[in-house]
């Protein structure tokens, strides 16, 4: 089972690597067709990325996500402890 954990983490690392890899290779040999053609003069949050402020948003989102997940993990462990306690009482009765 420890193998699974290591495997999962490896998959995650690989995924991150692939995603950050510039999509140059893909763009060269396969052009994706869009139903409405992509244009260069479309407004995107480029300025936001250039001066780095998008990372603030990512940090905030990750903080919220971390908070919610920690809450869920805490809840999970509390239920686990209760399960154990109840089983003990049941066995020792």
């Amino acid at each position: 089972m420890k193998m699974f954990r290591i495997l999962a983490i490896c998959c995650f690392m690989l995924g991150v690597l692939f995603a950050f890899e510039p999509t140059v290779a893909m763009a060269q040999d396969q052009m994706v067709e869009f139903s409405s053609a992509p244009q260069q003069n479309i407004e995107m949050a480029d300025a936001l990325r250039q001066d780095g402020k998008i990372y603030v948003v990512v940090a905030v989102l990750l903080t919220v996500l971390a908070g919610v997940l920690f809450y869920l993990i805490a809840l999970d462990r509390k239920v686990g402890r209760l399960e154990k306690q109840l089983k003990d009482e049941y066995v020792n009765r």
Partner: protein, 221 residues
């Protein structure tokens, strides 16, 4: 910790979704602009809802074949989490629609179908709470749950396709189809769907265990 590797996978997938989903390159399309990133957060709510409600139906069928409190509890908790995902999906959809379609609610067939589908599931909760006797409640709500899922599929996936719709993938509106969903979107979209669905399964897991504990305590008292 041994059986919980999938919970770690959930955390990793969600962190990946938020971080890479915000930072990666996305197609430049008119009207959508950066809101195309909602694909990683709005759409997985619906994918997650369908998968989680499918879990609920499976446990309802299991209950009818072999009545046990565990099957009933899991079916109920899964339905509740599925409804939560559906409500989040419809609210995020309205927010997105306001800035791309111009209105929060434009009576689009997809929106109406989703709303009716959710109402059918709200009725499931009402039905459940109207029985005092446990076995009766479990059996009748299991039957209703199967009906509700069977009604939800045409409402979400068939009826909107038969008429004009603003929503991508419906009524001759191509949207994020095979051509549009390019590999840079897919790279985050599939992990996002898996991550959000697993989060729902995790919540079902914790809530069902808590409910089963509660029932065991009542038995012992």
């Amino acid at each position: 910790m041994k059986k919980n590797w999938w919970k770690i996978l959930t955390v990793l997938l969600l962190v990946f979704t938020v971080a890479v989903g915000m930072l990666s390159e996305v197609p430049r399309l008119a009207i959508l602009n950066e809101t195309i990133r909602n694909l990683y957060f709005h759409v997985p709510m619906w994918f997650g809802m369908i998968l989680i409600l499918l879990v609920s139906v499976v446990y309802s069928i299991k209950y009818l074949r072999k009545p046990s409190i565990k099957n009933d509890v899991i079916a109920h908790e899964a339905a509740k989490v599925g409804i939560l995902f559906g409500v989040l999906g419809i609210v995020t959809g309205m927010e997105w629609a306001k800035f791309t379609w111009g209105e929060y609610w434009s009576n689009d067939p997809k929106q109406n179908g989703a709303a009716i589908g959710l109402l059918i599931y709200f009725a499931y909760l009402v039905l459940r709470s109207s029985f005092a006797e446990q076995q009766q409640r479990a059996r009748i709500s299991a039957v209703y749950n199967i009906f509700a899922f069977a009604a939800l599929i045409p409402l979400l996936f068939i009826l909107p396709r038969l008429t004009d719709s603003l929503h991508p993938g419906n009524g001759g509106n191509p949207g994020f189809n095979a051509y549009d969903l390019d590999s840079s979107l897919r790279m985050v979209f599939y992990p996002a769907v898996l991550g959000w669905t697993l989060l729902g399964v995790w919540i079902i897991n914790v809530k069902s265990r808590l409910e089963l504990l509660r029932q065991r305590i009542y038995e012992n008292v």
